[in-house]
Amino acid sequence: MALLELRGVSKLYQLGGEEIRALDDISLELNEGEFVSIIGPSGSGKTTLMHILGFLDSPTRGSVSLEGMEIGKASSRELARIRNRSIGFVFQSFNLLPKLNVVQNVELPMIYAGLGSRVRRERALKALEMVDLGNRLKNRPSQLSGGQQQRVAIARALVNNPRIILADEPTGNLDTHTGELILALFRRLAAEGRTVILVTHNPEIAAVTPRRIEIRNGKIVDHVDARLAGLHRPNPEQVPSAT
């Protein structure tokens, strides 16, 4: 059973009376522990796809299943719950709250999970130690470098123990070296059993993932899976046909 499955997903927008097809009949399966990148130029629909994969948005047509359960057109409350428990977001612009310090930022998802303050503090510290930021707890985001901010964001994404990490151009605002460190961190997370989805326009970054899905005009145009080439464990049944 796939962890996350999209079947015939389309997303339509009305723009000035004209219908825009941001996603056009996309089917996709993502499994546990996969490290996958979604690549495409701007306007290709990859951001829309990311929104749907991250349960920030619902598709106009088609179905999305998480762990075999069809989510369909869930209410915003249910979507919020799924985002809180199953998805960890990492954004290009980090999206930390500037008024909160590092620990408080990391605690944020746990607040909405309804955890008590002691548990929150404990788990935030652990997550921050994991990304080597155990010494910057009381700093504000503005006092940190880009790489450090992104690591805080990753700690925040991990802290509710989600099965899926969704990273939107996570290295876009970082220098090459820092970007590599962040990518290494993602690779480690995938190796530990989490599904990590990298959304990027940069083929070089997409090249680090074993599986790459290229999207253009709302359709999947290329689907490369290194595992199918025998580099990993081949398992044709699990991989959907590339359109």
């Binding site: 919020a80 719950r81 999970a113 788990r123 994991m130 991990l158 509710n160």
Partner: protein, 484 residues
């Protein structure tokens, strides 16, 4: 969760320790929301303070208004109570009505038998006190001074209870005094002031017990004196004047207040003035010494009034009907009497209080409302500068309800803090108003007023937060995240 990687890492140990399956999901943590709200207020101290100011003023003016009305109400009710209160009914003799003029010769006036009949026939009458008034403002003389008063009454001793009189010095007359029609009287402090000098002038309080006073030329022994009746405000003024006078005397200067004079009285103090200028003597004394000797004196003692104190004001109407029936039987159908109660006075007070409260509340309410608009305005400004924050919170799992609660709590916290400050400020506002525009009665801040004002502030906070909170909760997460 299965892992293909053989090495155990920090992540894995973290995962194994954390069991998320039994967590409350999407629960709104109210304490946390309050904490976030307080933090947000603290982060914009000046802005929050300005916003709160509206609520502070609204709450304190609401309390101040209510305090002033309460003060006036207390002053008025004091006077009403001093006059006998609402349970007192005066049954007054009056001339035969026009339509019964032909029966005039059969009218026998109000007599003691009426009082006895009422006492026997109206269980609701707690005290029935017949009263015989000396007409035409008798002249009192003692100590070489004259004074005319119109409250010279022949009564039973129990009359004191009906009119709320308290004998402070000496005693009230007893049955022997009455039986023997002794020339004894109990006076109010006002009479003492006029004939023997007021304490402010003489330096010490004169207690003229045992002294002789003439009433229309007849010598009477003063055997008792009532206590001084005055409103709370009069008492304060008197003490302040005494203190001022003492200070003037101590400094050796001459007084500059001019000669002693009556200064005119109005409103509540009039009731106290009348009460202080009362002379009581036994009913029988009044009859024997003043009334029976008159050339046109009736055969039976005629009363001017019967004062009745009822057990229960709520049954006033039924009691009045009963009394009237008894009187009509006794008077053979001739209605040569009328009732007088203090209901109208009581109603006037209630009406005044209600009107003052209503108009005051309206004005203070408007200022609270304006304060609420201020809060709504600031919350709208606040959410539009926090669109991205709201987007981030939603992305990490905040539900619409969480965002809604957060904004609502923030506006409510502003209102509550403003309300608390307003409660404290109201004391000073009341002082300031009393200083700028002193009235006859000191404002009285009540707990009820404070409670109501605070509750209103809280309500305004919630109402003001509803729309901004709704707006924030309905923000689209994707657009909010993209917002710069």
């Amino acid at each position: 969760m299965k892992t293909e990687s053989p090495q155990t890492s920090a992540v894995e140990s973290l995962l194994s320790e954390l069991d998320l399956t039994d967590l409350p999901v999407g629960g709104t943590n109210l304490i946390n929301a309050v904490a976030v709200g307080l933090k947000e207020i603290w982060a914009h101290k000046f802005r929050s303070a300005l916003t709160m100011l509206g609520i502070v003023l609204g709450v304190s003016s609401l309390i101040a208004m209510s305090a002033m009305v309460k003060g006036m109400e207390i002053g008025q009710k004091e006077a009403l109570l001093a006059s006998g209160g609402l349970r007192k009914v005066r049954l007054e003799a009056q001339s035969v009505p026009v339509q019964q003029r032909h029966l005039r010769d059969f009218a026998r006036g109000m007599t003691l038998s009426d009082a006895t009949a009422i006492e026997a026939g109206v269980p609701d009458a707690e005290i029935v006190a017949p009263e015989m008034r000396l007409e035409d403002n008798p002249t009192l003389a003692a100590n070489g001074k004259l004074f005319r008063t119109y409250m010279t009454l022949g009564v039973y001793p129990k009359q004191a209870a009906v009119s709320e009189h308290v004998v402070q010095h000496g005693r009230i007359f007893n049955d022997i005094d009455a039986d023997e029609a002794r020339a004894v009287c109990v006076i109010g402090t006002g009479i003492r002031d006029e004939l023997f000098g007021r304490p402010e002038e003489t330096g010490t309080e004169v207690i003229p017990i045992g002294k002789t006073m003439t009433i229309n030329g007849q010598p009477f022994t003063i055997i008792g004196m009532f206590q001084l009746y005055e409103g709370e405000q009069d008492r304060k003024a008197r003490l302040a004047a005494a203190a001022a006078k003492a200070a003037v005397l101590a400094s050796g200067k001459k007084e500059t207040t001019g000669p002693q004079r009556g200064r005119g009285r109005g409103g509540g103090s009039y009731a106290f003035w009348i009460k202080n200028n009362t002379v009581y003597m036994p009913l029988n004394t009044m009859w024997q010494r003043f009334q029976s000797s008159r050339s046109n004196a009736p055969a039976e003692p005629r009363l001017s009034t019967i004062e009745i104190k009822l057990h229960d004001f709520d049954r006033l109407n039924q009691s009045l009907v009963k009394i009237r029936n008894i009187m009509l039987v006794n008077h053979r159908g001739i209605e040569d009497f009328s009732f007088r109660t203090l209901e109208d006075w009581g109603e006037d007070i209630d009406r005044f209080v209600r009107n003052a409260r209503l108009s005051g509340s309206l004005i203070a309410g408007i200022s609270l409302f304006v304060g609420g608009i201020g809060i709504m305005n600031i919350m709208l400004a606040s959410i539009s500068e926090r669109i991205r924050e709201i987007g981030i919170r939603k992305a990490v799992g905040a539900g619409d309800l969480d965002i809604f609660t957060q904004i609502l709590v923030e506006s409510t916290v502003i209102a509550l803090v403003g309300g608390l400050v307003g409660l404290l400020a109201s004391r000073f506002v009341v002082k300031a108003i009393a200083w700028v525009a002193p009235t006859g009665n000191d404002p009285v801040i009540t707990w009820t007023a404070m409670g109501v004002a605070f509750a209103f502030a809280a309500g305004v906070g919630v109402l003001a937060g509803l729309f901004p909170a709704f707006k924030a909760a309905r923000m689209n997460v994707i657009q909010a995240l993209r917002y710069d």
